[in-house]
């Protein structure tokens, strides 16, 4: 049984092909890079539309299957940027009706967790999912993925990217901030905001930008920005670990590429005698394979939609989705 998954919630348009045993046959993608400034939702959507065919063909070629071999379709129905979501959904619906196969709406955040559980053989992790569009601490409990912490304003990846843009670093800012931070020595105090289980990064971002304008050393600032933001992320994840008493911690999303964040989370996990996982980079970022695999899990458990029920949900929450494929 083969599922073709389409991802298109933000920058990335991806097509993945996965079989029912979790073998990834293809994971093709293209990523929109804004010419200037942040992501423009409509431009990104046009990018997706223009590249859909190329990415689809590449996935089929890599998997060495023909489109008729596909048993059903899955697509990222949310959360995400409206125009991007609608483009991916249109592609998925058109394919499904043309092939006359079932179609399944997949929650993007849950797909990140599920592909990580697959590649890392993690059973029941507390997941820190950090990207340009999302910041969540997720753990499974009583039939759903519960959100044990999230940002109250901007996602942490966005905080790093916007800081980078404001101080003149190339896009995306995250990797450059990480590189510069390695040469930072002096800690410059920045606002550390943890509110209960939740986080806030917009005050941190504006203060770091302000300090740069006031002449603070950029290396020191990058170092301080990372240390502050990541300490807050790890603290909130630690609370979830302490509360749920789970013995696995997983890091995923685009920001998972950051070595310092990995190191910090690993230290925390060790202190709680928990295993620590980071999926390979290609599965941390947005991709079609994660959508396809989550589609398989759902399909095996009788989840499926009629074509007319495949509307997009820009604000689809992680904890709104029933997870029949897990128990407990």
């Amino acid at each position: 049984m083969l599922c073709l998954g389409i991802e298109g919630t933000a920058h990335t348009f991806g097509v993945g092909i996965v079989d029912s045993r979790g073998k990834v046959l293809a994971n093709a993608l293209k990523t929109y890079v804004p010419a200037k400034g942040g992501i423009h939702p409509r431009e990104a959507a046009q990018f997706h539309a223009a590249n859909a065919r190329v990415v689809l063909d590449e996935a089929l070629k890599v998997a060495s299957v023909s489109i008729e071999d596909i048993d059903f379709l899955a697509f990222s129905a949310g959360p995400g940027l409206g125009p991007c979501l609608r483009t991916a959904a249109t592609a998925a619906r058109a394919l499904a009706s043309w092939l006359d196969v079932p179609i399944i709406s997949v929650n993007h955040c849950i797909a990140h967790v599920e592909i990580g559980r697959l590649t890392e053989r993690a059973k029941d992790p507390v997941t820190l999912y950090v990207s340009g569009g999302n910041t969540q601490v997720i753990a499974f409990d009583a039939g759903r993925y519960r959100v044990f912490g999230e940002t109250l304003d901007i996602p942490v990846g966005n905080c790093l990217d916007v800081f980078g843009r404001e101080v003149g670093l190339p896009y995306p800012g995250g990797p450059t901030v990480e590189r510069l931070a390695r040469e930072g020595k002096r800690y410059i105090p920045l606002p550390y905001v943890v509110k209960g289980m939740d986080l806030s990064f917009s005050g941190l971002m504006t203060d770091a930008v302000r300090k740069h304008r006031a002449g603070a050393d950029l290396h020191d600032l990058c170092y301080s920005l990372q240390e502050t933001a990541f300490a807050a992320l790890v603290e909130v994840t630690e609370r979830a670990v302490a509360h749920t008493e789970k013995k696995e911690v997983m890091l995923t999303g685009g920001v998972a590429a950051n070595q310092r964040l990995r190191e910090m989370l690993k230290l925390m996990a060790n202190e709680h005698k928990a295993k620590f996982f980071v999926p390979p980079r290609e599965y941390c970022q947005d991709c079609g394979a994660m959508i396809a695999w989550t589609g398989i899990l759902a399909y095996k458990h009788g989840v499926g939609q009629k074509l007319r029920e495949t509307g997009v949900k820009q604000r689809w929450r992680t904890d709104q989705v029933d997870i029949p494929w897990r128990t407990g």
């Binding site: 942040g38 409990d141 999230e150 901007i154 800690y187 550390y192 943890v194 603290e235």
Partner: protein
């Protein structure tokens, strides 16, 4: 004796006389904020010190505002320790789901009233979860763990505080979230008086943020 390993502190239950070196009955709780190896020393020290000091102040001011909190006997800023009264009771977290609906409603209304008292006194708790509330045999609800609290009378801070409580209900008490939250709000409104609706509306607004908010809706842009 180690009583609890919290996420940020170890709590010890000790005889009064042994810890405070003066005559006294019963037990005390020693809350010791422990160092975290994952964060740099500067952040670690700053957080632990400021939270220790702030927490002891907030305990006292909350009590003054009419919210039961443990009596603070001693603050050791350098050692990052607070010595406080032991509250004999059960965590609300462990009882809330098991109560009969009517008892649950009454408890939640009381919690809502106490949150309103804090807010009216210019305090936000900062970590309103049911594990930070202790229900005693006499039916009093003690609030503990003010380490993330602050003196902040703004609408936003109050909204976030209530939002956190609702989020705690959603992640821990998902079977009774709605009825519990409704009862909390009803207690909150009654005690807070005028302006309570503004706070409640702010909670709704906060909940609309934080997702993948389309760029045109973002305030910093």
């Amino acid at each position: 004796m180690l009583m609890k390993k919290g996420a940020e502190a170890n709590l010890y239950l000790e005889p009064f006389a042994r810890v405070l070196h003066r005559a006294g009955e019963g037990k005390v709780v020693v809350k010791h904020r422990i160092a975290k190896r994952y964060r740099i020393l500067e952040i670690d020290k700053q957080l632990r010190e400021s939270r220790t000091t702030l927490e002891s102040k907030l305990f006292a001011d909350a009590k003054r505002a009419g919210v039961p909190t443990p009596l603070v006997y001693e603050v050791d800023r350098a050692g990052m320790r607070i010595v406080m009264e032991f509250i004999d009771g059960r965590q609300v977290k462990l009882v809330l789901d098991k109560l009969r609906p009517k008892a649950r409603r009454k408890l939640c209304e009381l919690i809502g009233r106490q949150v309103a008292r804090l807010h009216r006194a210019g305090i936000v708790h900062g970590d309103l979860t049911t594990s930070n509330m202790i229900l005693t045999r006499e039916g009093k609800v003690y609030f503990v763990d003010f380490g993330l609290g602050e003196y902040n009378p703004s609408l936003e801070a109050r909204g976030v505080d209530l939002h956190l409580l609702r989020r705690a209900l959603q992640s821990i008490h998902f079977r009774v979230t709605d009825e519990a939250y409704r009862a909390i709000l009803s207690g909150y409104k009654r005690e807070f008086g005028g302006g309570a609706n503004e706070v409640i509306e702010r909670v709704e607004e906060i909940e609309r943020r934080g997702r993948y908010v389309p760029k045109e809706e973002r305030t910093w842009r």
